[in-house]
Amino acid sequence: MMDAAAQEKLISVINEKFEGEIIEAAMDKDFFTLIVKKERIVDIISHLYNHEDTKFQYLTTLFAVHYPDQNQIAMVYQLHNLSTNQRIRLKIFLSADNPTTPTLTTVFSAANWMEREAYDFYGVISQGHPNLIRILNVEDMLIFPMRKEYPLEDQTREDKNDLMFGR
């Protein structure tokens, strides 16, 4: 998707104002993936939005991943430049005990519900979000169900025989 020259350009654009924020940058199959530090992620994305050499003005998706072995929650942002057809992926790693990140709703209105979904499933708090409440699960749920420690099935069932289901 992005040739070496475009990758270099992207890194130099970020380094113009955010020197030292990139932890790792590599081509993952066909997506150029950058792992950056979590504090200034929104500023970096806003910079990429406005800079005329990059202009990533379309947010494809935003979601979280739980890595229980490292006790981390990663947030993945995928951006797309519709005029030059370039796609990149940005990742930040948050600690699973207290995952907080600044909100992206100031740049993309689409991030509103995406961040609510990340909160609902993983407990990621987006600071500055206008309405951070649960979106898909019932409002009074106490746990964050997509985390790996919680089971898939409803544990209050007494009519299922685990032996028969191979568990």
Binding site: L136, V138, P145, L152, E153, D154, Q155, R157
Partner: protein, 184 residues
């Protein structure tokens, strides 16, 4: 001129005494016959089974032939609650409220695997069968069931409607069953 009557299928009439200009039979048979051919369903369509219901109401598999021409979206005017699709736990109280608003006599048809037992979604957020919250009369399995199966389910409901005793809804047994669900 050939008479047309031999091409028309005349339905079975209930047993009774017939004479010139009159027909005497039991009251509940007449009431059953009238009720079964004029059921007003409430389509509580949530997901994929709802699209198969739309196909059942279409021209190819016409459900209106069975008397269900008028779909009632208000529970107060409906006889049959057709629950089609997955009911999540968030939706459970809504379904219960719709059921409680229906007036007796009322029947419930659970269409699809998800409404009958949770289906393939054995997860924390899906209600594993609507018979956990409301009493169900007929279950139609399938994922989604073919329109022919949905019509078969409606025909079984028609059989129940036809043969129901007029005193059933006041009987102690029925009240005990409703109490089990916590419905007054």
């Amino acid at each position: 001129m050939e008479t047309v009557t031999n091409k028309i299928n005349v339905g079975e009439k209930p047993e009774g005494h017939e004479g010139h200009g009159f027909f005497a039979t039991r009251l509940d048979k007449v009431v059953g016959l009238a009720r079964k051919n004029s059921i007003w369903p409430l389509p509580f369509a949530t997901s994929c089974c709802g699209i198969e219901f739309m196909a059942t109401m279409g021209a190819h598999y016409d459900l209106a032939r069975f008397g269900s021409e008028r779909l009632s979206f208000s529970p107060r005017q409906a006889d049959l609650l057709m629950v089609m699709g997955t009911i999540a736990k968030k939706m459970g109280p809504v379904l219960r409220q719709v059921y409680e608003q229906m007036a007796e006599p009322r029947w419930v048809l659970s269409v699809g695997a998800c409404a009958s037992s949770g289906g393939i979604f054995d997860t924390y957020s899906v209600l594993q069968g609507i018979d956990r919250i409301i009493p169900v009369d007929v279950y139609v399995p399938g994922c989604p069931p073919r329109p022919e199966q949905i019509i078969d389910g409606v025909m079984k409901i028609q059989y129940l409607v036809e043969n129901e005793s007029l005193r059933r809804r006041d009987s102690a047994e029925y009240k005990a069953m409703l109490n089990k669900y916590g419905i007054e």
